[in-house]
Symmetry: C2
Subunit: 337 residues, 2 copies
Amino acid sequence: MERIRNELTDYRGTGMSVMEISHRAPQVLELLERTQEKIRRLMGLAGDDVVLFLQGGGSLQFCMVPMNLSAAGDAVDYIDTGYWAAKAIDTARQLGRDVHVAAKNHSAIPLALNVWADARYLHICTNNTVMGTQWQDIPASPIPLVADMSSDILSRNIDVSRFALIYAHAQKTIGVAGVTVVIVPRKTQEMIQPGLPSFFDYRTHAVASSNYHTPPVFAIYVVECMLDWLEQEVGGLKAMETLNKRKAALLYETLDASTLFRCPVPLGSRSMMNVVFDAVNPKTVPIFCQQARDAGLLGLEGHRARSGFRASLYNAVTLEDVEALTRFITDFERRYG
Amino acid sequence: MERIRNELTDYRGTGMSVMEISHRAPQVLELLERTQEKIRRLMGLAGDDVVLFLQGGGSLQFCMVPMNLSAAGDAVDYIDTGYWAAKAIDTARQLGRDVHVAAKNHSAIPLALNVWADARYLHICTNNTVMGTQWQDIPASPIPLVADMSSDILSRNIDVSRFALIYAHAQKTIGVAGVTVVIVPRKTQEMIQPGLPSFFDYRTHAVASSNYHTPPVFAIYVVECMLDWLEQEVGGLKAMETLNKRKAALLYETLDASTLFRCPVPLGSRSMMNVVFDAVNPKTVPIFCQQARDAGLLGLEGHRARSGFRASLYNAVTLEDVEALTRFITDFERRYG
């Protein structure tokens, strides 16, 4: 944040803010190229895998995925693991796709999948922010695998070769609202449907290097700052994963040892990003909320679609932040347990 | 820019950046509500006219306008006045609309229109950035009038009751890339097609107060800063129009008096926002370019789709900036004319 503040009125010696520079200026073209290259390097992508910076959030990708990878009436496969996965399914249905749900479970990651071999692709949401579940291992898929990684991209080291498409809005783990990263491997570029309106066709944005229409320059600049931090301060994705595992383990251990709180998510499904928990006795809820706020621990309320508590441990949350929370829980336990 | 810099790490006493606040937080809901209200007040909109903050730029609106206001196969009417108007036409055709071009002229605003009475709507681009033309008067239309005001919204006082829909990306006159303002008057809400995928339906975003998916909070915050400046420092749209008229008149008068440069745009079509001009003798072009750069006058090159020069006089350009340019042209004229 300090770097952004310092550079705000003078971007790399131009004397202008990055917000003021024309999207055709070499500085912006270089920003797009550099940021794409940094994502490629961090994730281990090949040189001909395309990285796009689009607008419209995950919601537009709920539309663009079926539009690009299937025709109206085609069979497509989705796994329904929660709030956002269900939205992706609704959207594919609205677009006239024959959606088959290979598995549905909102409280744990499903073990058995019933994938249609003739569906165009299988869509998963790798981390489910509301119910606090996460695919700890990427499922085997006989058909092209598409992943919404909006809430866990660049939080762990994954084998990108397993995916036919990856998309993620930036605001959870790698930046601010306003830009969505879409990774289209070379093999997938051949799957894209003919006759799409240009705006919806991934190839339009690929050919234009994400500059088909004015890109959200400031949001992309924030992503670049986060990538630099990930690479230079944290030390890359393996180091980030190690740190995120420690953060999550510390909090889950504290909750499992608690008599006042419990985590409802089974072991193999627990999210490193969103730790969901409940009070055993509902009467402690308002006291806990008030005291947490007083202690400066904000944002512990669950998503409006699920009551209870939720601690989000995205990349920007430090181990010290988690330690402060676990100390608070342990102390609360001593006083009220 | 200084206000943004000062508030960057502490938004209104929250101790957080506006980029870090949850999109469900009251601060963000209030930001959306306030910004919508300020646009309503500045433009003289009615309380039930909806103001949306969307992503995807003008390009997504090229899709959403035909999707919302017509069905596939329906007749729609467009006026082709330049680069962006032509893109809107291409997109409507790609979406299977029966596009009728009511008039086409890229070098002047057309005088005679051949509007189909049974087309769903008539689409115009009010200001044409590449060729430097602008609708000085809004054309009469027997069918609902839709306007792309991406390059002149809030630059002048217009009669909003004339329009069935107005859209504008923010980066030219009211903010930074990443947010698009769409104004959907109440009467138009009844025209919207049934059965649209939720993301593309204006009503989805209206019901959700532009928070259906995470809005581009930072870009909207910059828009609010610009609206405050427009209202409090400039004194509203009439004052802004007076200032913009003075700026443009000064530059056009200088060009019309020049023997080295000429403006190719006829009087009744000239844009207040983008003043396009050419060198009478091509040999003076590199000398003029070099000396302008040396004098700190940047961005005078024409759009890549048109050679020659272009001075963009958007709201943020001051009268003093224009005076510096006209002094430079007059001085250049004295030395080389």
